[in-house]
């Protein structure tokens, strides 16, 4: 009879679809994946150790480099951790500015993530280009307020670095005018398209209880049908004053993750509109003037977490009373969400493997740290 053999393929570390330097050691039987071993560490930059020789403030720009798609959200998590440790009050206006930036980050992350996901499915950049266009608009805003597009370094202990420039609000309002059209268009391109349905429905199913067991977070967890969002589960900042819904999926496949991301963009827009409405009434400046940036937290440890677009990002800091953290640990959502990859890909085709990886939405900067 015909004899077939299993073939081992190295996908990565230099491969178009691994989202960075990531390697998947795939054993395939024909086109079916029978085993997948994720191998990472190619982008290891010693993030946590570097942080332990830096002062607390000096670490702020380094957090930008974790998940370089959402620098603002990383900043927020770190600033919250240090503020919690030292006990710094954040003015109301600063909180609103923070939420505004973080929700813009969420939109830009999802626009990019969906575009890259479709690229992994084989589209020729169109959806990505549309997503990138919206992302560029938001990055322009970030640039005008923080001075940089990606590595914003905008948050400070007790507030944000700088108040909004005068042309920020009109541009933001323009952006919000375009946003529904963009999201609808994205949905039209993604939701009903038969080819995309074929590629995403029933692919990479992560059942609800396994998702919890793997401790994945973010859209991957919500796609699996668990309504868990730190903004609601443990409201931080001013999220308890804002109206928004949590979209969840029902099956837990790639399609559900796409749907959840699309809906989250809509909800983020809702949040931003509320922030714009409430911002003029907010008290305090953009930063607590009493907050010292050169902090020396008391001896102790702290864990602070936020819901970044990719999931729960937590910073665990241990202070020995000096101006540098004694221990600095990042709970990176991309890394944790990547753990079920090997199991999720088993039994699917090679092409699906790429799509599943794309639907997790990883950034290697955060995985390898």
């Amino acid at each position: 009879m015909l004899k077939t053999e299993e073939l081992q393929i190295n996908i990565g570390p230099q491969h178009p679809s691994t989202h960075g330097v990531f390697r998947m050691l795939v054993t395939v039987d024909g086109e079916t994946v029978t085993d997948l071993k994720p191998v990472f560490g190619y982008l290891h930059r010693n993030h946590e150790q570097i942080a332990e020789v830096n002062t607390y403030l000096q670490n702020m720009p380094y957090t930008d480099r974790l998940d370089y798609f959402n620098a603002m959200a990383n900043n927020q998590a770190y600033a919250m951790a240090v503020e919690k440790m030292v006990g710094i009050e954040v003015p109301e206006r600063a909180e609103y500015l923070r939420v505004l930036m973080v929700e813009l980050t969420r939109i830009l992350n999802h626009a990019g993530a969906l575009g890259f996901l479709i690229n992994d499915m084989g589209a020729w950049q169109t959806q990505l280009a549309f997503g990138m266009r919206e992302r560029e608009k938001i990055l322009d805003l970030f640039e005008s307020v923080s001075g940089a597009r990606l590595m914003c370094n905008y948050f400070r202990f007790g507030g944000v670095a700088r108040d909004l420039p005068p042309d920020f609000m009109p541009r933001l309002k323009d952006l919000l005018v375009a946003m529904p059209a963009f999201v609808d268009e994205m949905e039209r391109l993604l939701r009903e398209n038969e080819i995309l349905l074929q590629r995403s429905e029933g692919i990479g199913i992560l059942p609800k209880d396994l998702a919890l067991a793997y401790s994945v977070t973010g859209p991957v967890l919500r796609g699996s049908g668990v309504a868990y969002d730190i903004r609601r589960a443990e409201p931080y900042s001013i999220y308890d004053r804002l109206d928004f819904d949590i979209p969840v999926g029902s099956v837990g496949d790639v399609y559900d993750r796409i749907l959840v991301r699309i809906e989250e963009m809509r909800q983020s827009r809702r949040i931003i509109e509320q922030v714009i409405a409430q911002l003029p009434d907010a008290q305090g400046g953009h930063i607590n003037p009493k907050a010292r940036q050169n902090v020396r937290p008391p001896v102790g440890d702290v864990y602070a977490r936020v819901e970044t677009p990719k999931g729960e990002l937590g910073f665990y800091l241990v202070s020995d009373g000096s101006s540098k953290p004694y221990r600095y640990k990042v709970r990176a959502p991309s890394f944790i969400n990547l753990t079920p990859l090997g199991d999720m890909c088993r039994g699917y085709k090679v092409a699906d493997m790429v799509v599943i990886l794309g639907s997790i939405d990883i950034v290697m900067g955060e995985v390898d740290r």
Partner: protein, 204 residues
């Protein structure tokens, strides 16, 4: 015109014979298959020279386009593509036998054939439409209906055989369970085990 045809014929024949020789002499099986394809192709060209367009095209379509691919697939499914050169001490006997067989088939034709090919009646360059699609179609359903049907049955049998082989192989191969399938399976097994233990408890 004749001279040109003769030159082309000579080139083609050289290619056919050369390629055929290479098929049996190269050690690498894939190379042999590729030479075989070259030979097929040259044969198709020869048909074109004979103004048998339909046969030429079918030669390309069937032999070059399909059969050769099948051969390549088959070779790739075999274990090693590098064959040992098997040259026994009695190779001359094998050569004699094959030559003899070849001669036995060919000689009566060569001897008995009357080699007076009639010249084309019409003007050169305007061949008769020997290859009209309608004629072929009518030929298939009238004159050669038996051949056609037999060939069809043969192909069907081959097709079914291939499917059977592939199916057997497939059923023997363990299907790789996806994560969710495995999960549901495990849940069911657990439920069954619980039920069994509950029954056992009840019995106790």
């Amino acid at each position: 015109m004749d001279l040109l045809i003769q030159i082309i014929f000579g080139l083609l024949v050289a290619l056919i014979i050369g390629a055929a020789m290479m098929v049996v002499t190269v050690r690498n099986v894939i190379h042999a298959a590729l030479w075989l394809i070259a030979s097929f192709f040259a044969v198709a060209a020869l048909y074109l020279v004979l103004e048998a367009e339909f046969i030429a095209i079918v030669q390309v379509l069937v032999y070059v386009g399909a059969i050769s691919i099948l051969i390549l697939f088959a070779i790739m499914l075999t274990r090693s593509s590098e064959g040992e050169r098997l040259l026994t001490q009695h190779w001359w006997a094998a050569a004699l036998i094959s030559l003899g067989l070849f001669g036995a088939v060919l000689l009566p034709t060569l001897v008995g054939h009357t080699w007076n090919i009639p010249l084309p009646s019409g003007a050169p360059g305007t061949p008769e439409t020997l290859s009209g699609v309608e004629e072929i179609g009518r030929g298939f359903v009238n004159e050669f209906v038996i051949h056609f049907e037999v060939a069809g049955i043969l192909l069907t049998v081959a097709l079914i055989g291939a499917i059977v082989i592939a199916f057997e192989e497939r059923s023997r191969r363990r299907r790789v369970l996806t994560l969710s399938e495995e999960h549901i399976l495990r849940q069911r097994q657990q439920a069954t085990a619980e039920r069994v233990s509950a029954v056992a408890d009840a019995v106790d």
